[in-house]
Amino acid sequence: MSADAWSLLFESLLETLYMVAVSGLVSAALGIPLGVLLHVTRPRQILQRPLLNRALGTVVNAARSVPFIILMVAIIPLTRLIAGTSIGTTAAIVPLSLASIPFVARIAEGALNEVSSGLVEAAESMGATPLQIVTRVMLPEALPGLIHGMTLTLVTLVSYSAMAGAIGGGGLGDLGIRYGYQRFDPIIMIATVIVLIVVVQLIQSAGERLQARYEHK
């Protein structure tokens, strides 16, 4: 591989990491609170609101049913509004975040459901407010599950970002398609795939290590 190819590969890797990191952060920042809301409004939960819960659930499911590739195209106007453009790495962050927010929300909801109702009850018996129950009991106890879910999300984002790359989003997916497919350079394509595999492995093992740190089983 030429020096040019190497620098191209490195640049694309940085673009991928940038897309994954920013959309990962955005999806955590919005998805986890949404997951909390989904959880606490369930029937028999601390702030039960069955109607709100059902409405939220429906919206989240709908968002999750839209195939990513369609979502990406469908929200181009929104992307333009937020990012100022509809092509490039920064623009790709909008659909990536939007797709992963409901995903993270469901994962967070699942992690919170695993927190024993006895703990919530114990906190209530101590006179905890609902906000205290969420921040002092539910989220800390669900932390290992949340870390697990975020690892899953980041890995999914890596592959989604490659898809976003295919329609002009930059990153490793873009590189693989442009050089590997359109110019038929198998070496670059293989190199891209190998880098993707390494990135996913690194995310996965870092996630597992972090999860183990917070899990006191």
């Binding site: 009850e121 800390p140 106890e141």
Partner: protein, 344 residues
């Protein structure tokens, strides 16, 4: 200290309403260890959860330290709950917090400063005997140690009342004894009022001052523990007492045992007495005066509410008149005598 005033609780179950509590009135005096016993599904958990309104009764009033919990606003209820500690069958400790941090939780929730928390927790660790486990996580503790942490946590906010929901049911017998001793200790040292629910009569026997039996959501019997053991009023109470003294049914002891009297059969008596020294002279005297023999089928000495209590099962051998006289003699001397059946 805790007063339930005709509380009822009805759940809307899938197959119609379930009346978990049916017009219950109970009074738990200050400083008392009060036990509520009942079989599975009797409504015990529902009742104790009404004492801090984790469950709100459908009707009735709950008074704790003179305050009617039902009338309180959510914020007032939260501050009332800080005065009511609670421990649970499955401990309910936060797995991600150390022993110290678990005990600190109620104080954090109340907005205490970290130096106040530090000062409050040291004596609690001492009290429950876990000074060396301060920085362990719950997963590294035994069941008994976990319950000690839960007790320390419940005491952290210096409550007036402690609620125990089957606090020893997940523990082995030895650990149960040590936890019960700790509760008794706390009750004495801190003057804490304890309401506990259990399905184990041994718990009532070893630490309670008063006891109520719950059956199908109703209190069917209520008494001080001694009287309860000496003279249980209802069939369910008698069953619980027999289980607590590990009494075998008479039919297991004697194969000639029958329920009803037939010509020439002799009564089998259960004699219950308080204090070890009274019974032997009385039995000897009865034997001498009425010219009968006592054939001891089973004998058991138990400590109930820190008093010695004896339970004897005897069959009385002799002339019919003598047998009757002997029975009357024992009763006259304040022994609790009950005919449980006959042998021939």
């Amino acid at each position: 200290m805790i007063q339930f005033k005709s509380i009822s609780k009805t759940f809307q179950g899938g197959s119609g309403p379930v009346h978990a509590l049916d017009n219950i009135s109970l009074h738990v005096p200050e400083g008392c260890i009060y036990g509520v016993i009942g079989s599975s599904g009797a409504g015990k958990s529902t009742l104790i959860r009404c004492a801090n309104l984790l469950e709100s009764p459908t009707s009735g009033e709950v008074l704790v330290a003179g305050q009617n919990l039902i009338e309180l606003s959510p914020a007032e209820l939260r501050s009332a709950r800080r005065e009511i500690g609670m421990i649970f069958q499955h401990f309910n400790l936060l797995s991600g917090r150390t022993v110290f941090q678990n005990i600190a939780l109620p104080l954090e929730l109340a907005g205490k400063s970290s130096s106040d928390i530090e000062n409050a927790i040291a004596p609690l660790l001492e009290l429950v005997g876990l000074v060396d486990k301060r920085d362990s996580y719950p997963a590294q503790l035994s069941g008994g140690q976990k319950q000690r942490v839960a007790i320390a946590r419940a005491l952290a906010s210096q409550p007036k009342v402690l609620l125990c929901d089957e606090a020893t049911s997940a523990l082995d017998p030895q650990t149960t004894v040590s936890i019960l001793n700790l509760l008794k200790d706390i009750n004495k040292k801190l003057g804490l009022t304890i309401l506990l629910i259990t399905h184990e009569m041994d718990v009532v026997k070893s630490i309670c001052d008063r006891v109520a039996i719950l059956s199908q959501g109703r209190v069917i019997e209520e008494n001080d523990v001694e009287s309860f053991f000496v003279a249980p009023q209802t069939e369910l109470a008698r069953e619980f007492v027999r289980a607590a003294i590990h009494e075998k049914p008479a039919s297991d002891i004697s194969h000639q045992f029958r329920q009803g009297y037939v010509e020439g059969s002799r009564p089998v008596l259960r004699i219950t007495f308080v204090g070890q020294n009274v019974v032997q002279p009385l039995i000897t005297q009865a034997a001498r005066l009425c010219q009968v023999d006592f054939n001891i089928l089973q004998a058991d000495i138990e400590t109930v509410h820190s008093k010695t209590m004896g339970f004897l099962m005897v069959d009385v051998v002799g002339e019919e008149q003598g047998v009757q006289d002997a029975q009357a003699f024992l009763q006259k001397h304040d022994l609790q005598v009950e005919v449980v059946g006959y042998v021939s």
